[in-house]
Amino acid sequence: MSVSGLGGEFALIGMAESAVGIVPDKSPRELCVQVTLDAIKDAGLTLAEVDGLITCNAFAEPIMYHAEAVAEYIGWQPRHCVTVNTGGGTTFMALNMAAAAIQAGMADTIVVAMADSLRSFMSREQAMVVQSSSGHPHYEQPYGPTVPAYYALIARAHMDQFGTTEAQFAEAAVSCRAWASQHPKAQKRDPISVEDVMNSRAIADPLKVLDCSLVSDGGAAVVITQKDRAKDGPHKPVTLLGYGEGHAYEHISQAKDLTTSAAAQSGRAAYAEAGLTPDDIDLLQLYDCFTPALLIQIEDLGFCGKGEGGAWLASGISRPGGGKPMNTHGGMLSYCHPGNPGAMFGLTEAMTQMRGNAGERQLPNMRTALCHAQGGIMSSHATIILGAED
């Protein structure tokens, strides 16, 4: 039973990441070019065998026709070439658009590539201002909210409604860091404790700096094609079993509900298409821009009851050795967060785990993974469910 008609018919056959963290030697466009070519190579294909490119723009180097500029840079004229932007949710919405484009006959094999350099190609203040510009220009931005402040409003509401504590939010950061300490590429690898998070610098109460994701450079790309074309590559394909999206509002001041997000809708649709439930998911790759966002996704995607996210995190279930491994690369809290491409690294990590190539942090029997991305201030959501091939 398929909701959108795409589930089970498409596979991810190639992937690539650039260097991540602080990468001053390549511009966002150059990173995007690099991961595009590397992902095609990883799929065992040549450029001539790929006929679609989907990218998203870069804050640090905006280009009016971004995808065309990336293709032009490498002398490529793909049949399908488009730039999409739904903020942090871009990653998986772009993936679904790629599948839909293939189904519609617009291309046979598409690269989804994105990169940005918020760390090395923007000043701290530029990065802060450009990100907070998601606020309403007349009814939010004039008051001086920062992006952490928007998420702090959500955190405070959750604390008030469900008794969630600051220490429980901190558990999310501790869990992600514990995984990052096992990943040689992670931007932050030193283990941290709940106390470390609680004692870190106040940013927007109740959020401290260690509740906030990193500011990074980096890019990643994946190659998607129809499943029956995916057999001959060098790696086991990863099947797209289910997809869902949910769109509640743009601005947080227009949210009907501060503590339940449209991840509930995107998750429901993805589970329905995949024919799976939260209990069936082996690996969680969620969107941890801020610790409360992660906590609310855990609830809204059905891994615990509403209001129980704090206790779920504090139980240690998501950490190394726990029963629901989550953000095993370290997430955007510890691996890297170059802006809109952030969730791509949750996807490439899921593929790495399913291929069995995760080295020290490799988990046994990774059959299913749920990857989630969101844009805006918990505004728009996209969920994908992946399955390993036999």
């Binding site: 007349h138 008051y143 001086g144 109460d205 109740p206 001041s253």
Partner: protein, 140 residues
């Protein structure tokens, strides 16, 4: 980077004109009765374009709040309080709570509108705690 200053559209101008006169006004849908914020050309409950401005009470409660410890730019001197206010008439708006002890803030407390000049031409609604409405002593 200066403070962001609204540049009202003709649709929004009555809201800002009222703020300059120290009044909070809201659009009421003449079709379904919904009270809107932010100002729009169409009702966000029934999509009617029959909207009329009416005076609001200026009373509200705190839906959520945060004390910003690191300002968005040098034009905002931290700490300052960003809040979501549920207005008595129904809509929610983002604003600042001014002159408040951060430790005195809580979700659900009553607030009352005040107005602050943001530029020569633009005055914005801000809010103050209003303990009298919570039965907690004399308010302003």
């Amino acid at each position: 980077m200066a403070k962001p200053i609204p540049r009202p559209t003709p649709t929004e101008q009555p809201f800002y004109d009222a703020c300059s006169e120290g009044k909070l006004v809201l659009q009421h849908c003449q079709h379904c009765g919904h009270v809107l914020f932010y100002p729009r050309t169409h009702c966000d409950a029934c999509q009617s374009d029959q909207l009329a401005w009416e005076d609001a009470s200026g009373a509200g409660t705190i839906a959520s709040y945060t004390v910003v410890r690191r300002g968005v730019s040098t034009d905002f001197e931290a700490p300052y309080v960003i809040a979501l206010i549920d207005l008595a008439e129904g809509p929610r708006m983002m604003s600042q709570i001014i002159d408040a002890d951060p430790d005195a803030l809580a979700v659900g407390l009553s607030v009352k509108v005040d107005f602050a000049a943001w530029s020569e031409d633009i005055t914005l609604p801000v809010f103050r705690l209003h303990p009298a409405l919570d039965g907690g002593g004399a308010g302003p």
